[in-house]
Subunit: 408 residues, 2 copies
């Protein structure tokens, strides 16, 4: 099929021929509307006129960065990687990934479940919503996606096929290389330059060679460590949830990279929200809830990842009987410690990049009061720096929490 | 072109149509002979009858492991990776890689320069031949192949394309995963079981969980660290040389892996030869020459790699101006130390695997006297163990030499 950019009318026409969509809507008449909240893509909602609760999402990538315009080219092949990642993750986690009704890489298009009972987690957390099942859900998601796509589970031929499917997601990986690990720590056009100019904290950050050397190490790990298939952009804007359900969406940055990257992104965004409430609402209860969540996510992830690993006797890495039980357990325990360490290192980079870099987060950049925003930025830089300078020697989750709590 | 297994007659017919070959031989009549010293492939020599000094090599892969027979399937696609690696390395190092006259991935076939003035390095070293230019040559080769195919030189899109070209060399990577990092340290059919049975040193090795845990870490690094394009099997049997020239051949194991792997393989094989002479000839002069060579290879590699790196201001990893000069130099110096460390770790695995595993080396397994062979094996295991247990904390090349010299 040849690629064609759709609009509201042609979407309606396009879906007439898709069996799974016809089956879903039956004989209902359909409505299409564009819901333009995306930065990168066009997103349409297709609704039954008879029963507006019946709806599907159609998402199509275009050949440019939508939020900037046609002059900022970005190849639409990113949708291929999103489709592949959604399908891969759905395989393991049908309750945490939107159901796909139809996908077409030629058209850079996917049709999927509409999440009408869920909100973007970042907005929920800013509004101080408590999600009692979130740590359970996301730790299950992380343990399964990371383990089942790694050489601790797969045999080498399968692992190499997986790499093959995602290796070419060059452009979006490059965005992370640039924006997470490079330009946010030096003078650059893409930064939040209105704030950066004559900002003493920015100046200090840009001159902090000790910190930037560590960032460079993390960047190198990001570029060359092929542990497992990652979501690649797992911030709280990529999570839709309510008190009962949690969905992870938008894996267009998916690639085979280091274990710690997704966990780090998530922790970073929980920390950003913690900073928001430290400065804006000063709600100690909610801050405690956030710390508890961070602790639970890290600890439950480790527990669940190990459970999956303990069930797996043979893999690319391990042949049954190679190590005795005690040695194998020590090996695994050290392996998990290294995942924790890398997660916190990446987390530090993910926090720091949001302060002055392109694409800030609402939790911090959205703070209207200039002084409060500065206070939040300083706090973010402090925690980020502690994470990045100390991650290699961390021994426990509690040390991570101490860093967050003690920063001021 | 459809694949067809050639023989002496059809080789002659096949080459009639190749321009570069016709150009090379002119109107000479040609002779074809099979020189069957390979384990994996068929190798033919095509010679001018008028001038026997004029000759080319034709190498074709078959669908099985030649030394075992048709029942041991091994896909002939390995030749595609050999061709790609030869061409890539030749790009940077025309004086160290045989010239290719013709290549055909469909036919799993390559026609290349005949090295008639050179011998396999392993044989040269066993015969106590001194190669005065070897360290200079191989350090240039290693620095260039490793640097120019890494993210310290390439931009990300080029690096990902490189990974794409070699990622599917699954089968030969799997051979290394199995034989270098797994089966040589446990009871296994493929081991040298005549020797292993009731061998107390084998028993000790197979039960050495501390050592095997470190081996497992190295295996994981081998499988998941995509630093640069490697030869993949750089032992002294993959080097043909004389006093003036050095050629690296047979890169069918080529893949994108950790910096230290090729260096480690080479050092391991120099150490194996050192062990041979420690036990068999006891020639102290030649042993000194070998130690000097090891030192020079490691030190010159670092020097030349850094020279290339210092000329390169921008790459996937580095953006000009990200770090100040002092910090950048410290970063590079630490980076080089890590390459040295990993090289010695891999070297330890490469030495240990040759003791009881499949495919021993002539330097040690070729020792006829049973007691002397045992002595060599014990020495190999000692050095290997020191390398593997200590590699992570090595600070200098001299420490490596101390380990070798002090082992007995």
């Amino acid at each position: 099929m040849q690629y064609k950019e759709l609009n509201v009318e042609s979407v309606l026409e396009f879906i007439q021929n898709i069996d799974s969509v016809k089956e879903y809507f039956g004989l209902d008449e359909l409505n299409v509307a564009e819901i333009g909240d995306g930065n990168l893509n066009y997103v349409y909602i297709v609704k039954s006129k008879q029963n507006p609760k019946k709806a599907l999402i159609l998402k199509q990538a275009v050949e440019y960065l939508r939020c900037v315009g046609q002059e900022y080219a970005l190849s639409r092949e990113r949708m291929s990687f999103e489709i592949r990642a959604l399908k891969k993750f759905y395989e393991y986690l049908p309750s945490f990934v939107p159901k796909i009704y139809y996908e077409n890489e030629d058209m850079s298009l996917v049709i999927m479940q509409y999440l009408d009972q869920h909100i973007i987690m970042r907005k929920g957390l800013i509004a101080k919503t408590v999600y009692p099942n979130f740590s359970e859900h996301i730790s299950t998601y992380l343990a399964a996606t990371l383990f089942y796509t790694s050489s601790l589970y797969l045999q080498s031929d399968k692992k190499r096929k997986l790499i093959d499917r995602f290796n070419k997601n060059t452009e979006l990986c490059k965005l992370s290389e640039d924006f997470v690990f490079t330009t946010a720590y030096m003078e650059h056009d893409t930064n939040d330059n209105e704030n950066v100019k004559s900002n003493k904290h920015a100046k200090k950050l840009f001159e902090d060679m000790e910190f930037k050397t560590k960032i460079l190490n993390l960047k190198y790990k990001f570029m060359t460590q092929t542990d497992c298939l990652l979501h690649g952009d797992l911030h709280t804007g990529s999570i839709m949830l309510n008190k009962d359900e949690t969905y992870v969406i938008d894996p267009e940055f998916a690639f085979v990279g280091p274990f710690g990257f997704d966990i780090g992104a998530l922790i970073a965004n929980l920390v950003n929200n913690y900073i928001h409430h430290s400065v804006v609402t000063k709600d100690e209860e909610f801050k405690k809830y956030l710390l508890k969540t961070i602790k639970e996510v890290l600890e439950l992830f480790e527990k669940k990842f190990l459970e999956l690993w303990n069930k797996q006797k043979e893999s690319a890495l391990l042949v049954n009987g190679f190590l005795d039980e005690d040695s194998l357990n020590s090996f695994k325990s050290e392996f998990m410690k290294n995942i924790l360490r890398d997660s916190i290192g990446f987390s530090g980079a993910k926090i720091a990049r949001r302060v002055f870099g392109v694409a800030g987060v609402e939790d911090i950049r959205g703070i209207k009061d200039k002084d409060l925003r500065e206070e939040a930025e300083v706090l973010a830089l402090k925690i980020a720096r502690e994470f990045v300078m100390k991650y290699e020697n961390l021994k426990s989750v509690d040390e991570v929490l101490e860093i967050i709590k003690n920063a001021r």
